[in-house]
Amino acid sequence: MARTATTAPGSKPSDDRLKGWRGYVYSTNHKDIGTLYLSFALFASLVGTFLSIAMRLELHEPGLQFFTNPQYYNVFVTAHGLIMIFFVLMPALIGGFGNWMVPMMIGAPDMAFPRLNNLSFWFLVASFTLLINSLFFGGAPGSDGAGTGWTIYPLLSTKGHPGPSVDFVILSLHLAGASSILGAINFIATILNMRAPGMTMHKMPLYVWSILITASLLVLALPVLAGAVTMLLVDRNFGATFFDPQGGGDPLLFQHLFWFFGHPEVYIMILPAFGIISTVVATFCGKPIFGYLGMVYAMVSIGFIGFVVWAHHMYTVGLATDTQAYFIAASLTIAVPTGIKVFSWIGTMWGGSIDFRTPMLWTIGFIFLFTVGGVTGVVLANAGVDRVLHDTYFVVAHFHYVLSLGALFAIFAGWYYWFPKMTGYMYSELIGHIHFWLTFISVNILFFPQHFLGVAGMPRRIADYPDAFEGWNYVSSIGAYLSACGALVFFYGMAEAFYRKRPAPANPWGPGATTLEWTLSSPPPFHQFEVQPRIS
């Protein structure tokens, strides 16, 4: 039996966007909301990148050139991290591509709660406003802004920042958290309930699986962050002593609560990326993903284990040896399902006819560079080694490899893959290739030397450093400027595509693109699958 969609009987069905600003602002359409998220992420990425370029400019040479009050450098570090995580990666991967593609991929006309979807987006805008506000209010004595790092540990974030900045950060996190929790509820209900007839769970595209698991992590992990930052708020303003030992409190309580959220958070950022990579690999090798069930349950395992490894971020705080031993073992086990995925992607490419168009370049780049980042994570999982490397640039290199060279590459893979579908225009392959190679080379120049700096002992989150670290810092900064040029190439490529308006067919990629969005026009109609397709 086919399943159909409807608006209220007797009311005017909205078969197109409302005219004027209300069309997007009041939207209950998953594609328009996805566009809102992607545009927002793009804008936020400019702010986040500006902050990082400023930091690399400072670190270009020893000595303080720009941040004569080094507290401001810490403010930039904090804002850079929060913006990239909450206002670039998550909105792009989950809010942007998730909203755009999940309903189409499961053959549904929209999300389960279209109005709630819109709230999730506007909450994020409100959250970003609060974060930007934090930069302009007093923080630590003598400066503005929250210079705590994105991890906002007390007592630096309580007694150390008497001004309102950290309160703005806390409330920003509350709203971003609410945005994500509501969005996650929406995705889970949609995926569980609105699949086309015949699409069993084990027939869902891997990207949909990745969003389902990500959403489950969000629902379970974010409320704990909410509790932690609420405790921070009352400690700061209402005299509570959750984290102040002089009142019987414990600073480590915050770290436990934060990382109980914080570790699933990194899987929240990478799982949708895994979904995109699986989709693009299958398309451009012209064969289905190797080992579908293995891929599904690898993601489930990663999500599950991700909840019980949080204290590997806390190896230097004085945990009991046996406790550390447990967390080492648990953290190392995540390498197994992750390895299954990497080998399966390679297995998919094996014997396939590989089409090296732009999305596939980003994808192959991801598989290689994410693996590099992953193995440095395995190094850090060992508490003994981490004792030395904690809070050094080795950690910075690790997470930038998995995020800036992992998640970001997956975002670009998804962007180029789905750009024709979303806009109806073809991008220029030449510009896409230039963008990829320039970025690939420059981000490696940027981040690879940071491994050396970390092993040599350079601490993170410092505006200045001893002369001995000068060489690799100089190289790293050059990489940063080059990658900014890569970003310029990206923007040029987008402008060129919108200017040239080369029409994109419904499916530009060939028979390898098997998910349902490729059966629709480019761009798709305002409402699709009002009668659901039957899946065999």
Binding site: T4, S14, L175, P223, T230, M231, T241, Q246
Partner: protein, 281 residues
């Protein structure tokens, strides 16, 4: 579904299964109100404007107006027969997931409680051990007996939960008098619980600030109390709708969800009672 070819099956006009929601102003209004509420809180705390509480209360008003406007819209859609069985199933999932997130929120507060209560003499926590005297409850903290008012509060909430369940059962048999009576009972007991809780708060020998016991106790039970108030309002709206003749025996999601919420609040209290009140003293 059996003999027709797939494309033929899709061509026949079908009973609508999904609800496509019309564009709505409430999300953006809600987010803007939340922004004003948040900024207003900071303005109030730091006295950045005059009067300091103005922006905050504008935000509160906006959030309340959004909740009323939005949920009124949902109720209208439901009463207008726009909710298909699939919509209702989605709403069930949504409410369960929401309660899951609320559970995890309370996990954070219980974690804070157990962090000190289980390890009051942890050797690494030198200053804390000295301040609390290596014991739980900390030295100098006088807790009342859990078998007095707290036990009464437990009985009140359990009875209240039973009343809601009874009301739901009456509705299933289309007994609207029973529905209203049960709801009135449940709400009254919820209000009584809140009043007793407030009395307990005001009469506590320990302060909220300056000590970990006060912090954990008042924040955990305080957030619970806030949820009791929210649940009472939710049940109150159900009572109003019952008087308006809404809710059918086979379709009454609002009541079902209010009932689930109320049971959730009850279970959280049982954990609070067992661990904070009984075990913790």
């Amino acid at each position: 579904m059996t003999t027709k070819a797939p494309d033929m099956a899709e061509a026949e006009p079908e009973r609508p299964v999904f609800q496509l929601v019309e564009p709505s102003p409430w999300p953006v209004r809600g987010a803007l109100s939340a922004l004003l509420l948040a900024a207003g809180l900071i303005i109030w705390i730091y006295g950045l404007l005059w009067p300091p509480w103005m922006v905050f209360f504008v935000g509160v008003f906006g959030v309340a107006a959004t909740m009323i406007g939005w949920w009124r819209e949902v109720i209208q859609e439901a009463e207008n027969h726009e909710h298909t069985p699939l919509t209702r199933l989605s709403l069930h999932y949504g409410m369960i997931l929401f309660l899951g997130s609320e559970t995890m929120f309370f996990v954070a507060w219980f974690w804070a409680f157990f962090n000190t209560a289980l390890f009051p003499a942890d050797s690494i926590q030198v200053v804390r051990d000295h301040v609390i005297g290596g014991q739980w409850p900390p030295q100098g903290i006088q807790m009342e007996s859990p078998w007095g008012l707290p036990l009464l509060m437990t009985v009140i909430l359990l009875t209240s939960a039973a009343a809601v369940t009874w009301a739901d059962a009456r509705l299933l048999k289309n007994n609207r008098w029973g529905l209203k009576a049960g709801l009135i009972c449940a709400i009254s007991l919820g209000i009584i619980f809140t009043v007793i809780q407030a009395h307990e708060f005001m009469g506590a020998s320990f302060n909220y600030s300056g000590n970990i016991f006060g912090a954990v106790f008042f924040m955990a039970t305080g957030f619970h109390g806030a949820h009791v108030i929210i649940g009472s309002i939710f049940l109150g709206v159900c009572l109003l709708r019952a008087f308006l003749g809404q809710f059918r025996p086979n379709e009454h999601l609002g009541l079902t969800f209010a009932s689930w919420y109320w049971h959730f609040v009850d279970v959280v209290w049982l954990f609070l009672f067992a661990f904070v009140y009984v075990w913790g003293t």
